[in-house]
Amino acid sequence: MGRIASEDGAPVNSHITLRSLPAENLRRKPLRTVALIIVVMLLSVALFGGSLLSINLGNGMRSMEERLGADLMVVPQNSAQQAEALLANGSPGTFYFTEEAASAVAKADGVAQFTEQVYISSLAAACCASKLQIIGYDPSTDFVIQPWLSSQFDGEVKDGQIVAGAGVNVSSDGTIELYGRTWPVVAQLASTGTSLDNSVFINRATIPSMVEASAQVSHRVMPEQYEKKAVSAVLIKVADGYDPHTVAESITKLDPSYKSLGFVYPGGITSSAKASLGSLVGYTAIFVAVLWVMGVIVLLVVFFSSVNERKREFASLRIMGATRGMLRGVIAREALIVSLAGGVTGVALASLFVFPFSSLIGRQLQLPYLQAGPLAVIGMIAVSVLCTVVVCMGASMLAMCKLARPEAYVTLREGQ
């Protein structure tokens, strides 16, 4: 009769109790245990990763809808695409009307509210910062940016001051360098998951100083005669009962030259982004569902075959006095250990990729992507681990039903 000893000859305690039996069973069958943990881990990765991705995309979409507060955007001729790109994926751009249009556009039928904005693209900095979108807005008429700013910045943006988006690199002394000049940053906004994170907001009265600064370091971003009256876009909120397309049509009827104006419908951008988001979330859900069905089938097969090959082991335990309840407890605890190990590892593995790469994921998807808050993440972790535990325990219990039927003695003598 052999005995178990460590390498240096000291005896190792090989006494096994009913409580330590599940862990011992798993330890003695490392291949089966690892295979089961991997299956459960894959289920957990798919559920947690897929759900978090969908939640973050949903957050980004809501944030985008909240920020695009206008129904219609009137932009200069041939600038509609640039304006759409600016709203949708944050490609910085500079464009402006060369003649007075805003006040005339406001006279169109169905215009409830209007405001003017100026868009200037900053220089691509030589080192360590990307291009920024400079947005000049008129605080006296604004209904798009101000409500959002006031929720996070309690004060007025004075001439020469800047409010920076979440993604903007603000130096430790609270300033930012644009066109070779240092500008004071009075507030940095929370992340929105949209292109506005890479924008800076200034009072429209600051635009001439910004243009002058650009003239001193590179080329002047707009001619001197436009710097005080420059308007890049007229943002319109349509009156109740009016469709933005109808209002756009009435604008073109004001003057024959207005037919060439560009019209951007932020609602349309949102709906096209929503459609892309819907299909992406749909495919993710299908993928997760298929993976879960396959995973559950694999778990059932593994548990059934495991119980089948352990019939004699369980029959021996029954003969030694273990009740059916005790055996169920052993199987259930084995399943619990496997599901917890797989579930937690899966969540950790998915977290290792979803959180650090969130900026990259957002950029690659070309959709608004806003990281969920800690409470939502903790909730998703709990749900993912719970689902894997329930599925694993359920599969093991189903397999256990099969074992519960025959008598122990008959099982032990099977095949003899």
Partner: protein
């Protein structure tokens, strides 16, 4: 032999990845007039990767107690790898810069995986081996 492979192979693979990845897709930002912090982080990460790779190869040919020590050293190197772009040298501050979006998370993930693998290997190798007498 099984334990040797478990204790050494992950370090070889991860060390090679850490050495190669910063020089390929997870590179530092391009277009610097002078080298920025991300460039030095990239070079340091490659050096640390080579050290992890060499330690991984060496651990194939040494005794168990030494493999424990080597894996502790690998874990310490991986900790250094995480600290280089996050604390010691840093990367560009712009949120949308390639080094911040790709290089920093890639090195952090590879470093974390290396620490987990090395810690697991050190634990497995430090346990008393049971033999049936």
């Amino acid at each position: 032999m099984k334990n040797t492979v478990f204790a050494s192979l992950p370090s070889v693979i991860l060390g090679a990845l850490i050495a190669i990845v910063p020089q390929t897709f997870a590179h530092a930002c391009m277009g610097h007039a002078t080298f920025g912090a991300c460039h030095y982080s990239q070079q340091a990460a490659t050096g640390i990767g080579v050290v992890i790779l060499v330690l991984g190869i060496v651990s194939f040919f040494v005794a168990r107690p030494m493999r424990v020590g080597i894996n502790i050293a690998i874990a310490a190197d991986a900790l250094l790898l995480i600290a280089v772009p996050n604390l010691l040298i840093g990367v560009c501050k712009g949120q949308m810069m390639h080094c911040r979006m790709v290089m920093l998370p890639t090195l952090t993930v590879l470093g974390t995986l290396t620490i987990i693998c090395a810690a697991a290997a050190a634990w497995v190798e430090s346990r008393p081996k049971t033999v049936r007498q």
